[in-house]
Symmetry: C2
Subunit: 248 residues, 2 copies
């Protein structure tokens, strides 16, 4: 096992940070590594918003469901699918705009997410810690207003970034047999499902014991992710895609 | 600059591969590194299909627009948003299924893409090369049939994987000033757009000189990505999301 794989395998989300700020040299290294990620047709259809200002964090706090990492970390990075810049370039070069559609939103999202993971890995290699926050997408409408995103720009993923003040346990992952399919998708037989989720259930029930729900599956559906909330996020996001010209 | 960042910054897509096969030990290391990527709520809502069989590659060839990398590389990995496994687990644990909606498709896609980038970086650290193929999403309907994907599973990204038989030039990326926004999105003034795209235009016009189109922006819109094709992909993908229960 080489050092890169060792690093990837030792990833954990960090939610507590030291007060230490991040120098602009360190941040630039992280951002430059982000831009070297693969990108569809080398279009780089994404932008990164860097949040360091306390007042901006306060504005974003509610949209991020008041999660402490946002306020604790010196930096928050928001990765957006972005065809706005591309569109302006096409305009000055007298080229048509072919990107007001759903496929382009997905291409921009993929570019943004690949860049974000490069940034996360670069950050961890420099001794920093990160925590992705799914609220970036769940609250994409509110965040678009706060960050003043124009047409053709959607926040997709984001993470807090800082020097770790904790070393959490590594989270259990499904065994690779539970993730991998050879040649064709093999639907998991029910008797194997229990085995695949066994370790995760054991860990999860420890993690969520105070919630008082009988099993981890129900923790997910009754406590963490209700149908009502997911239908709302879906509706909000589809509405935002429409507004930002990404739903044709 | 440390070795991890050095590796990230030296990424290039590799399209020509040696005949050398990939051992199962090496492949497992790559796949295990993939599973350690961040994942929304640690749900790991994705699956990875490993293609090594020549006959399967032949079946996928047309869907991948007959790109040679698929046939040349010993392995192709398809990363799918997958709530099917989760759903079966919820079922045996008597939990509701809250994930038949667009938000869940996006969560699964993000998980799949983060895992794919971990796999790509692990592979490169072991001396292998990769090339992401956007056709995975453009042809998601055809590939779903070939790979026999059940409900709640959508192919999102994929790449060819093998030992490099070329070392292509590194592609030019936009300068970070063209990607980064401090605190709020600043729409790029037109006079700056030309500067941001300058190097890319120079490189692109060399790369596409034989196409005979006057500028790189038009190469994108008249040659590489037509409006017609993007509208078709969008329609296909939205149709597939509907069919796979991801459009509520």
């Amino acid at each position: 096992m080489n050092t890169v794989i060792e690093q990837l395998k030792s990833h954990r989300s960090v939610r507590k940070y030291k007060e230490k700020t991040i120098s602009s040299e360190v941040l630039d290294q992280i951002l430059e590594a982000a831009t070297m990620a693969s990108s569809s047709g080398n279009m780089q259809a994404y932008s990164i918003i860097v949040t360091e200002d306390e007042k901006m964090k306060e504005k974003m706090f509610k949209a991020h469901f008041e999660q402490s990492m946002l306020m604790e970390a010196p930096v928050f990075l928001t990765f957006c699918a972005d065809f706005n810049r591309m569109r302006r370039w096409l305009k000055i070069r007298d080229a048509a705009n072919n990107f007001d559609n759903f496929m382009s939103f997905m291409i921009g999202s993929i570019d943004a997410i690949l860049a974000s993971q490069n940034a996360a890995i670069a950050a961890e290699s420099l001794g920093l810690g990160i925590c992705y926050m799914g609220t970036t997408l769940a609250s994409s409408t509110e965040l678009s207003e706060i960050l003043e995103l124009p047409e053709n720009v959607i926040p997709v993923v984001g993470f807090s970034l800082g020097y770790p003040d904790e070393l959490p346990e590594k989270r259990k992952r499904l065994p690779i047999e539970g993730i991998i399919h050879k040649e064709k998708y093999q639907q998991y037989p029910f008797y194997e499902i229990a085995k695949i989720y066994e370790e995760k259930e054991r860990e999860g029930m420890k993690r969520y014991q105070d919630v008082g729900i009988e099993n981890l599956a129900k923790v997910y559906t009754e406590y963490k992710y209700t149908e009502e909330s997911h239908i709302k996020y879906s509706k909000d996001l589809l509405g935002l895609l429409e507004k930002q010209r990404f739903l044709n």
